[in-house]
């Protein structure tokens, strides 16, 4: 293998010039990555999720997520005909090693991956007393772990349970939509690892992103719409029993 190809590996096509700036820690200066050109979200396609847990493991690897806490997790729902409003839900270790076998009992089962919804009107950023958590100009809710006090108010304010206090760093932690990857033209670790395309990164501002067509042609929902959080994780095929 010759040298030029090795260098090509490092300098991924879309992020060739951007890498320099992004690596330096100033993606806003990168001519290829302009924060104002992006508005990030995620598409989660429920009928495609097989509950393999690849996403949970990949996220843990990519982001050094501590054991017992989850930046993303998968839930398995079991809805019976007699009681459609109270499903049985399990998430063994967040679904990290998959799920136990469900016997054929004629009931409804499906998997629901959960993550931070990167809400446009997020209640978590509203309650932070010092401005340690915020939504970036490109729509990603992030935590400034050098500024966070660890008061856990944001953890209480999130309706989706996606935040936690990092047991070692003692600051708030959660899904960053793999910001360090998407600003380099890569996709998130969970989307990269998903074998069925149940999770797909979406750039709502990019006219070429297939999300626009998908949203037009499918019935999508967000979790807990009554909370009016402006959630940007869109679920296709979400059952009414999902909490």
């Amino acid at each position: 293998m010759n040298i030029s190809r090795r260098h090509l590996l490092v300098l991924l096509p879309a992020a060739a010039v951007a890498w320099k700036f992004v690596h330096a820690g100033t993606p806003e200066d990168s001519p290829n990555y302009q924060m104002s050109e992006h508005w990030w979200g995620m598409l989660i396609d429920i009928p495609k999720c097989i509950g393999c847990g690849n996403c949970v493991r990949a996220c843990q690897t990519e982001n050094d997520v501590p054991d017992g806490f989850f930046r993303t997790w998968v839930e398995r729902y079991n809805v019976s005909d007699e009681n459609m409003t109270t499903p049985t839900v399990i998430s063994p270790d967040g679904g990290k090693e998959g799920f136990p076998i469900a016997t054929e009992d004629g009931e409804k089962y499906f998997f629901v991956p959960k993550m931070c919804n990167h809400c446009a009107d997020s209640p978590c950023t509203q309650v932070c007393p010092v401005g340690a958590t915020f939504i970036s100009p490109d729509g990603v809710v992030l935590i400034d772990q050098k500024y966070c006090l660890g008061c856990a108010y944001c953890v209480q304010a999130c309706p989706y349970g996606c935040r936690y206090i990092h047991p070692e760093k003692k600051v708030a932690d959660k899904c960053t939509l793999c910001y360090h990857r998407i600003t380099k033209g890569l996709t998130t670790a969970c989307c990269e690892a998903c074998p069925t395309g149940a999770r797909q990164l979406a750039d709502l501002k990019n006219p070429k992103d297939p999300i626009h067509n998908f949203l037009k042609t499918h019935a999508v929902q967000v979790l807990k719409p009554q909370m009016a959080t402006g959630a940007k994780a869109f679920y296709n095929g979400l059952d009414g029993s999902v909490r």
Partner: protein
């Protein structure tokens, strides 16, 4: 499975707000309540409770000095707390803590205490020796003017400070209620009634605390308890307690009637996980029983000694009941899953920085501060314009 029944979102299984976060609203509640009792004398001219005026202020200050400690122990990075002063986030109720606390401490409580005690301070600065003399001298801010005119000005300014102090006290404790009441994610907390319930229960606890301290200290000083004073305090406590109980019942009835999506889960929690702390401690022993006892003292003319004992029992039960209320709000709000499908358990540690020993220590610490403050600024002397002659 680690204390979980049903389903909890994985990150919800640990409780993030511990018994120290229960203690914080309890302590600021005592501060606000004690101050309201003091304001009864200053602003509403209820002379009967004058013997407790200075004690109420010193009690408020003792507890206020301890109030930030549970928060500091809880924070993951306590040394970053100055950020709340330097970059407070204007959409966060918690961000106002730093400023409201400082305002209440310096511009209300310390100011009012200083104005009321200034004559004593000047005299003590002239009579004391050694380090104590220096301390008093500093407290005089270099002015030994205790002429009638200056004392009159102090009196007038003090009146304004108390007047401003009443809404300030409501803000100091009400914002804590708002911290919980404004969280739409948590249906156990989210309610416009929350700040109001917090304030009224705070008044009950603060008034009860000062009443009990007054009775205990008077006995320790081998003096006679001013029964008219205690009768009046108990009367106010009774009526405020009725309002507090009504508000809590209103919240409960509203919940049961509307029965929204969270109701089944919360109802189950209240009857199982919170049965002892809510039904038994908060409602039966902590509210209904003291209310009955106080009601009886209002309608039946018991002997003084019997009344005193009934007040002591009511006061102690009220203090326990209102602590239980804070527990049920803070801990209860974290025991159920936001999926409404499960519950977790709170295991209180013993010796960690957020454990039981820390909580007990922080509850007792204000009494040490009070002891020290009473030595420095004796509440019952002849020069105070607001202490009644009886009982000295």
């Amino acid at each position: 499975m680690n204390g979980v029944e049903g389903y909890m979102y994985p990150n919800e299984i640990t409780l993030y707000w511990s018994v120290l976060i229960v203690l914080y609203p309890y302590i600021t509640g005592l501060v606000a309540g004690a101050f309201i009792l003091a304001s009864l004398v200053r602003v509403f001219r209820v002379e009967a409770v004058a013997p407790t005026y200075r004690l109420a202020l010193l009690t408020a200050l003792s507890f206020l000095l301890v109030a930030p400690l549970p928060l500091v122990l809880h924070l993951g990075h306590p040394f970053r707390s100055p950020e709340m002063y330097f970059t407070p986030h204007d959409t966060s109720a918690m961000a106002m803590f730093g400023y409201v606390y400082l305002w209440y401490l310096m511009a209300v409580l310390v100011f009012e205490i200083w104005l009321d005690y200034r004559q004593d301070i000047v005299l003590l600065s002239q009579q004391s020796k050694g380090v104590l003399r220096l301390v008093y001298k500093v407290m005089t801010l270099g002015s030994s003017n205790i002429s009638e005119r200056s004392l009159y000005i102090d009196e007038r300014v003090g009146w304004i400070v108390t007047l401003v102090g009443i809404p300030s006290a409501f803000l100091l404790h009400g914002y804590v209620g708002f911290i919980f009441g404004s969280i739409k994610a948590n249906p156990w907390w989210s309610s416009p009634l929350m700040p109001v319930v917090f304030i009224f229960s705070a008044m009950v606890s603060g008034i009860a605390a000062v009443m009990l301290l007054y009775m205990a200290l008077t006995k320790l000083r081998r003096q006679k308890i001013d029964i008219r004073c205690v009768d009046t305090i108990a009367m106010y406590m009774f009526y405020i307690f009725i309002i507090d109980f009504s508000l809590e019942m209103l919240d409960l009835i509203h919940r049961i009637y509307e029965a929204d999506e969270s109701f089944r889960s919360l109802n189950f929690m209240a009857h199982t996980k919170l049965f002892f702390s809510q039904i038994v401690l908060q409602i039966l022993l902590g509210t209904l029983l003291p209310l009955i006892l106080l009601f009886l003292t209002q309608v039946v003319k018991f002997k003084e000694i019997v009344r005193e004992r009934m007040y002591v029992v009511s006061g102690c039960l009220a203090l326990i009941g209102i602590f239980a209320m804070r527990w049920n709000v803070v801990i209860g709000g974290q025991l159920f899953s936001k999926s409404f499908l499960g519950y977790t358990t709170y295991k209180v540690d013993l010796v960690t920085k957020e454990g039981l020993l820390a909580a007990v220590g922080l509850t007792i610490l204000p009494l040490f501060f009070l002891w020290g403050l009473m030595k420095l600024l004796p509440p019952w002397t002849a020069t105070s314009a607001h202490t009644a002659a009886a009982g000295d």
